[in-house]
Symmetry: C2
Subunit: 312 residues, 2 copies
């Protein structure tokens, strides 16, 4: 008996990862490619479908029941990517339609954080949970909210933009054109922005002044060496994230918040501050109830698994 399989595709600003997945969440075969070097979506789809067809031929095209795609600003209802600031293609892209034509398979699309939430629910840290939030701390801050065992898509498919909740009124300019969005503070790029601001406006000694390339990784390395400013950068970032998570808890009261993405790799260096400031700001009925967890899935895998789960 040949088992049916699903194809999952995770479109990120830099890379695209794809894999063929079985019902138990095992990735049978996978590959990746650059997203950013393709200036037109037609060019991108042509290269992607060539690469994906090779994998499909490996397992047998007929075994693929469908294709699920996670992408920034991906809309479950329309199959479109709408105005994604971190992708090279502007405006509204009918990605599900284009890919379905190229692969001759049914394609279902959602945003990358929603796909990750489905991956965690089916195969990861949220297995068996009915109410949780997934927060991706990457270039931006993405989120997927699950309530009553279902992903919250909202009436238009665009729910779950915690990264664009205003964390600081009239704060930093965001790529979305507004000010003070959470992701301008609490993300891999957000902590770097904070570091650059502090380096310009403060005089204290820090390893960060002699760091060739400021990144969430290099700030983490400095913090591990005990650098005071680097340690304080994680505290500040964790404070802002914790404050806004306390507000999000007041809306959906989740059992857990599950983190993944580059900045989440800082582990307790960040999370102890997130936990402290979230608890400090929680309404009493929620205190000491919300688990902060890390994704149980490898980053790329979670997104591929979540995307593939859309196809079943």
């Amino acid at each position: 008996m040949t088992q049916t399989l699903a194809l999952g595709i995770d479109i990120g600003g830099t890379n695209t990862a794809f894999g063929i997945v079985d019902r138990r969440g095992q990735i049978v075969t996978q590959g990746e490619m650059l997203t950013a070097e393709h200036n037109t979506v037609q060019d991108y789809i042509a290269v992607l479908s060539d690469k994906v067809r090779v994998l499909m031929d490996e397992v047998g095209r007929d075994r693929i029941t469908g294709v699920g795609v996670g992408a920034p600003n991906g809309n479950f209802f329309t199959g479109e990517i709408a105005y994604a600031p971190n992708l090279p293609w502007k405006g509204v892209i009918p990605l599900a339609k284009l890919l379905a034509e190229a692969l001759n398979k049914k394609v279902t699309l959602t945003n990358d954080a929603n796909a990750a939430a489905i991956g965690e629910m089916m195969y990861g840290a949220a297995k068996g949970m009915r109410d949780f939030i997934v927060v991706t701390l990457g270039t931006g801050l993405g989120s997927g909210f699950v309530a009553n065992g279902q992903l919250i898509y909202g009436h238009d498919g665009f729910a779950g933009e915690l990264g664009h909740v205003v964390a600081v009124r009239d704060g930093r300019t965001c790529g979305c054109g507004r000010k003070g969005c959470l992701e301008t503070y609490a993300s891999a790029t957000g902590i770097v922005r904070t570091a650059k601001e502090w380096l310009e406006t403060r005089n204290d000694e820090t390893l960060l002044r002699s760091t060739a390339t400021l990144s969430s990784e290099s700030i983490f390395e400095a913090a591990e060496k005990g650098d005071a400013m680097a340690l304080q950068l994680f505290e500040y970032t964790g404070m802002i994230l914790g404050q806004i998570l306390a507000d999000a808890v007041a809306i959906t009261s989740p059992q857990a918040i599950i983190f993944f993405g580059g900045l989440a790799k800082a582990g307790d260096m960040l999370m102890k501050h997130v936990r402290y400031h979230m608890e400090e700001n929680l309404l009493f009925v929620y205190k000491n109830k919300v688990a902060l967890l890390y994704s149980a899935l490898h980053d790329a895998d979670a997104a591929i698994l979540g995307a593939s789960a859309l196809a079943w």
Copy 2:
């Protein structure tokens, strides 16, 4: 054929309203009593069940299929009222259990705003909607979030506390013990607090200085007469509410936000500012999509209908 009926009870800080409702949402008979004068919950339950039994006897006790209760801080999962600051009884009150014993009927409890959301979905402005928010602007600010056609209870039954999202960091002291909660600004008592602050710290002439009792109603009356401070009070209140609603939209992307309660009666005097500031603060994908509506049900009716709907 005798039709089956449900009993709905809305417990407010001041009044308790109750009614017997048929399947189509018609209130067959109803009554009310004071909540606040009963210092013990036992006393309250005794008086309430006496009054309710009179109504049940009018229609025939056997026709009542069950009892639904909406109450501040009411928990759907446990049937308890937990630490409700606006009720005379402190701590955790097993209200569903006490009332079930008194009435010998199955009792289902939820918080008052959730009950209102169910009422609006079954019989009111949200009929046919699957994603919306109900906001009650009364003594406090309550909310019920519906996503995918289901009320969001959260893992513990305490979801939907928009009134305790922090609107102003380190702002006004709230009854919950924290600072800057939305309901300390955007509620019937919130607008009065703003008025009192302004009257103390400003010198401009206003009708409000000679108003015997400051209330949301008297501020509304002054605003209708063109009083500058009163008009500005609605603008300020609407601004803070609009800003936080923009954040809430980023989480659940509702089709509509439905308002009821005392302060909502100010109508466009408040709502034009809420709309303006919500739109100003919305992420672009949500702009000009979220309807701001008033409850289509009489205030007390919405709560009774919603509570009764729990019983079916």
